[in-house]
Symmetry: C2
Subunit: 219 residues, 2 copies
């Protein structure tokens, strides 16, 4: 097949929150998961697993669990809109409308990938630092990102969400996830229902990078 | 240019720990960082920055700081080798030799990318769960992974390391990183000095994925 280029895939890999319910073929699901396995993990331990949730009742229960944290998040987000100019406000409102759509329709996506991780199989090198730890994520989110990029290559839309981590006990019971495995990412995937992939809105490299020490311009 | 395909890049993006000191052109460094910006972050907040360390003295100091945690890690790793069969042992010894080479020669890589993050700009949805938090990593490691893949596309070798998070206070002082920004990834990048990119050794999708609930085969 004519494979999509790497930079083309990365530069157009938008969060796609409006998805059609059409099923995704098994071989495509397998390619997405294989792409995830290619990502690096600490000591090559691959301390993650993924549950592909396709069952209608299970997806619906996930959507119901999602709504509580989503409603709280949306309320906070609207507070933060105060003081935005009209253009920025309109842009934020568009994102929020799509995210609200997702919160209400997530169960209609053909697959929801639930990524799990095992903290006991990770060397969490920032565990002792006096601030929130993130390093465990270094052995799971590269895999999630590979899956998002593979979905882009397959013409599928998806979005990385983590809100359901706030309902981990209920998700654990629903999906029978054994201790000490835990949840780290929820990725609904489906054919884009509206505009789908395209140009991204991001802060440019000039504002993201320094040379040799903090604050020194690189470019 | 004839762009590398997405799946080709992902499936051959090996950890390359032996790197040549040849400098990396500015425009290539910029492409790597731009690729990182394309990754998703929570609420599109891009709560990370990257310091491209090129200064010889600063790289050398990073390498010196790395050696302490590396020596401890290597000792532990060798303990874990006991009981391995000859083939697995030989494979692990090869990885360890390359990682030891990196620990001693990291300063010779032309660039070391130091990724920083701001926990105050993250919604860490698993902060209340009774296990190590990883969700903050969901807004930084997709960007790191994009940079690794872009390096692959540019014919450059690199490897994601996090050991220096154990020396964060010293790294913070060296690179003048202001609170509350903190470190999450250290990526030396250079032209591969030996075999470079190629096939990966990974657990296959069949062992990584379930259908609808934990333990149920997907394929």
């Amino acid at each position: 097949m004519g494979e999509i280029g790497l930079y083309e895939a990365m530069s157009s890999c938008r969060a796609v929150r409006r998805q059609r319910p059409d099923p995704i073929p098994d071989e495509v699901v397998r390619r997405l998961i294989e792409a995830a396995t290619w990502a690096p993990t600490g000591a090559n331990s691959q301390p993650w697993r993924v549950i592909a949730v396709r069952d209608a009742d299970t997806k619906q229960r996930l959507q119901e669990l999602y709504l509580g944290p989503w409603n709280a998040y949306e309320k906070n987000a609207r507070q933060a809109f105060k003081g935005l100019g009209p253009e920025a406000l309109a842009s934020q409102e568009r994102v929020l409308a799509a995210a609200t759509h997702l919160a209400k329709q997530m169960h209609r996506s053909p697959v929801i990938f639930v990524f799990c991780f095992n903290p006991e199989r990770m060397a969490i090198t920032d565990a002792e630092q006096p601030r929130p730890s993130v390093v465990g994520g270094g052995s799971v989110y590269p895999a999630v990102q590979n899956l998002l990029l593979a979905a882009r290559a397959e013409g599928l839309g998806c979005v990385l969400t983590t809100l359901l981590c706030m309902r981990e006990p209920e998700v654990r019971a629903l999906l029978e996830i054994p201790e000490p495995w835990a949840t780290c990412a929820f990725v609904p995937v489906g054919i884009p229902a509206s505009r789908g992939h395209g140009p991204l809105s991001r802060r440019p490299p000039e504002k993201m990078a320094f040379l040799d020490r903090w604050g020194a311009p690189l470019f």
